[in-house]
Symmetry: C2
Subunit: 286 residues, 2 copies
């Protein structure tokens, strides 16, 4: 079989960013200000690196950002106070909390604190419920959305296909499954307790992998002709970035795959800002 | 193979009702009143029949009921007004809206109106999201809970098993899948767009059927030794109640199955009142 196709994220992101930028300009014309993303930032190196991407994307899509550094001495009360004030700030349309947070602070717990209308990361019960119930206004977690957007862009349909999702996190696996289900896929969730994992993954016409284990998925997991979406971002023993999928070993079996880096990553940031501009628009209408 | 075991609902319901009754009495001792379920009732015969079951179960579990008949002339505004007043009524702990509603009224839309703390039927985005996020305080739709409760009672574990759910409704299929996933099952959702439906159902160690089609599932859907949960309640050509599963044809293949009537039905009512008493308790704590 010929080598499979690498589904690059940048063209997808560019496409989404263009549409976001248009919506952003239209919002500014009505609201008299640009959509604004507030970020509680973490000093962790990977968070700082993502912050740079956020800043540069904000410029591209005509949005503003407001950065609030979370200090290591902050406790749950301090974080809640900061979120409360962002909830009340009329000029803030979306709130993102970077991880890792200072010890003992649970991001899931913060989901109850953030105003669901500003929850562009999809961590509140209200937004999870809207996603679950297939409401059009739902703000789904950007990484989960990115999995679907990349398939859409490259015209890989989902209807009637067997989609297997490896991983059931609240930020990727679970919401990606719900999104694929709403596209009429037959979906299966696998996880750490799944037996005969390989043989179940081998059923997948589309395999979405989000487990956080460097190169865990190899040719023994792949159905011939499958499309493989790799959400993992790991650092291998040589300090090199890699995904959850061992690309070299699946390339001759899969039809298409997303590379790491350069696959899901850029699309995720684009989806974050699309959520921001949609959230801004919904608040304006009310 | 020997005939399979019928998993009867009554013993399961009795067990849940006993525990609910205890919690209800404890609540009344603290609150000075009994938990109260408000029902917007429908004049539809099957709704009226369910209402009788609700009344008799309420007595068993020491709860009160308040019935508000929805008249055929009511429009969305009237229903919302009725729900608003129940939201505000401090003596009401749970709200149930019976279907069918007068034309053009969408139950999903009402999910946004009901106070999530009183949403014991699990139709609000907030409660769907709590279920999705595996919060302990989630009030899951009673029918979905019943599927899991009946398996628990008869000691059929779910961890690591392949569970296939046929149907993806918001009241049964989708929430039952999430509940099974939180019990560490590997879960697959099938639906009307699924291809090779039988062969996918045949993978199931536990098959949950909620499609609303009389006796649709027969021996060609069943893996030998499977446990089959039948959520359907249909009336066949002879006017006889029957499930979505053709019990006579699967009996020699499955290990166990829930009969219709007498399976999931009684457990659902028990789960409804358990949700009511839990909702009452949560409001008291606040």
């Amino acid at each position: 079989m010929a080598d499979s196709r690498a589904l690059l994220g940048r063209p997808v992101a560019r496409n989404i960013n263009e549409s976001t930028s248009d919506k952003s300009i239209a919002f500014a014309a009505k609201a008299g200000r640009r959509p604004k993303l507030a970020v509680l930032t973490s000093s962790d190196p990977s968070s700082q690196s993502y912050l740079k991407t956020i800043r540069s994307t904000a410029k591209i899509v005509n949005c503003d950002t407001l950065e609030i550094p979370v200090e290591s001495a902050w406790d749950l009360g301090t974080v809640i106070k900061a979120l409360d004030s962002l909830n009340k700030d009329e000029s803030v349309d979306g709130i993102l909390v970077q991880e890792p947070l200072p010890s003992k602070i649970n991001l899931d717990r913060l989901g109850i604190v953030i105003d669901p209308r500003k929850d562009i990361d999809g961590i509140s019960p209200e937004q999870s419920g809207r996603l679950f119930r297939n409401h059009k206004s739902a703000l789904a977690p950007p990484t989960a959305r990115a999995c679907i957007e990349i398939l859409d862009f490259y015209r890989y349909g989902l209807e009637g296909l067997e989609v297997v999702i490896l991983g059931r996190s609240l930020v990727v696996g679970k919401p990606a499954g719900i999104l694929a289900l709403s596209r009429n896929a037959t979906i299966t969730w696998c996880h750490s307790k799944t037996q005969a994992l390989q043989s179940i993954c081998k059923r997948a016409e589309v395999l979405i992998v989000a487990v956080g284990k460097a190169r865990m998925v190899n040719e023994t997991f792949i159905r011939p002709g499958a499309t493989v979406i790799d959400v993992g971002i790991n650092v291998d023993e040589d300090g090199k970035l890699c995904g959850d999928v061992d690309t070299d070993r699946i390339r001759s079996i899969a039809t298409a795959y997303t590379p790491v880096p350069g696959g899901i990553g850029p699309v995720t940031t684009a989806c974050l800002f699309d959520n921001l501009v949609r959230a801004a628009g919904y608040r304006l209408k009310k």
